[in-house]
Symmetry: C2
Subunit: 324 residues, 2 copies
């Protein structure tokens, strides 16, 4: 891993990865269409001689193939990460996740690049009956277009590993938290509390149980197994890892952390029901024995991760203005 | 189920379904792009007043949406069924299976049609460790682009069932045999024996174990659960069924049946190895307890199915001339 291509390089996780790879002495080509990415996240990277930014879209195969030339590893993080509104624009997950991933794979093949890391999601387990959910849980029924598109991406990647001898690392993330976080429940809650500190609207009944992971812990896990080269020895040239903390929190607990940290006691208004939205999974908790067996472990608890996230949001309220 | 839309209506399974639906008194709109479909398979249907043929491609959303108007049920059977050559044209499965299925779902939504039957495949289990493989087998790693595209189709369908209240029937087929069969090992072996009766080239070492199902038994199973409306009561509005026989045969056994029926003793030439091709699954055998619990059972054994297939191929050698 010397010259690394990162799709979604201006995103929350992508830009954090870029900084970390540069710190590790790698050369990095960042690729982003800036549909949701933030130029400010790349400010420091852009001053680094080892970094090159190429602005482009994964649906533009020609530009993508050209931009990737000379790289030896691809982190494919660009995606429509909007799980909740999939039903309002069903084509988005197909285009930005499924077709985009295919284009990334073909661009790699055209350039003779074979090592890929992919950000998949714990949502692929649907409404799992086995919790904590292991990587080989019973074959799930997909309940969101987002997860369906990620499963599609996983399937194409593992087929390229089998058929074209790619080396694939698929990571099924829980929700990721930390600095540069610009999407999800902490983001939404803090925005509401900025606008009206006395009131907080909560989707569902607040009993949903979710797991989170701090972004640097997430990146450590990915880099750890890729440095070990675990997929090289895997049966089909691909390894799939759940990434998450060994704990979960209820949305209500999370509200407690947030309000406690901010010193607020808002009136809570629940929209009601077990689910925050159609396709919302009321309980996501992944078994992480596989990634832990490689020697990785997280450094922050969920509460600490939420704390860091809040602190960063407090210091970077500009993200609420620039976001679409 | 009164006015039924069938994609892939001129194909092996599609045209057989069309004839059966017409016999049942349904009105049928057949849709096919004739990339592999055969007009001759629809000869009898085209004489029936209840049948309308519309020639078109699943990638042409506008025409597809228009053609579907007025129907209440869709059998989405059109697909690139070419499992073996996926690596030679990786975009084909994405376009003809994944994107095509998305277009079918969107055309249904535009027309207010909610009932869909989908031909998926036992290949989605990858190289299953649990054999016979049940529907809730451990979450598999995909090893072919064909299966990856079918999993993608399944995921979108179940998400539409969850999100848009569709009623979905997903069928994971083993290889289907019978009259109008124009693809697969019996087809290939018979062609070889027609060309040179003294010699037969076999992919792999002949030890691959596969399961097959007779086409009329396959259709009976589909129509049976759809008439029962099982998916209406299902958790996410979707039911997934394995369809297969309760037995499997080795490729070598199958060669025995074929040569026995033809009275030939060719010299066998094996290409060697456990697999017929990259991504070939050396052992496919599905557990069919779920579909059997609904009251369905197959009427023909695999050997009888191969017999019918051979008989039809002998009487319809024109398929070898017209096929691409």
């Amino acid at each position: 891993m010397h010259i690394v291509f990162v799709t979604g390089a201006a995103g929350f996780i992508g830009s954090t990865l870029v900084d970390r790879l540069l710190l590790d002495g790698k050369q990095v080509v960042g690729w982003d269409n800036f549909s949701t990415g933030q130029r400010r996240f790349l400010e420091s990277a852009l001053r680094h001689p080892g970094f090159k930014l190429v602005e482009g879209d994964n649906l533009d195969s020609t530009a993508l193939t050209k931009a990737m030339a000379g790289c030896d590893t691809v982190f494919h993080l660009a995606a429509n990460a909007d799980v909740r509104f999939g039903l309002e624009h069903p084509a988005k997950d197909l285009q930005q996740n499924t077709i985009a991933t295919f284009n990334v794979l073909e661009a790699m093949r055209a350039n003779g690049i074979r090592r890929i890391a992919f950000s998949s999601t714990g949502s692929v387990y649907g409404e799992a009956e086995k919790i904590p959910t292991p990587e080989d849980a019973p074959f799930p029924v997909q309940t969101s277009l987002y997860a369906a598109s990620k499963i599609s991406g996983e399937g194409m990647i593992s087929s390229y590993c089998e058929g074209f001898k790619f080396e694939g690392y698929i990571f099924r993330f829980v929700s990721i938290l930390g600095e540069r976080y610009t999407h999800g429940h902490v983001f939404d809650f803090y925005r509401q509390l900025l606008e009206h500190p006395g009131q907080l609207k909560v989707l569902g009944d607040g009993s949903q149980r979710k797991s989170y992971l701090y972004v640097q812990d997430c990146l450590s896990a990915m880099l750890h197994v890729m440095n070990q080269g675990t997929a090289k020895k895997a049966r089909h040239g691909v390894e799939i890892y759940n990434l998450g903390a060994d704990e979960y929190v209820q949305v209500n607990n999370s509200i407690g952390f947030i309000c406690g940290a901010l010193g607020l006691e808002p009136r809570l208004e629940y929209t009601g029901g077990q689910r925050g939205w159609v396709g919302d999974n009321p309980f996501i908790f992944l078994q992480t024995a596989k990634i832990r067996a490689t020697g990785w472990q997280p450094t922050l608890t969920i509460e600490q991760g939420i704390g860091r996230t809040l602190q960063w949001l407090q210091q970077n309220q500009w993200v609420y203005e620039t976001r679409h």
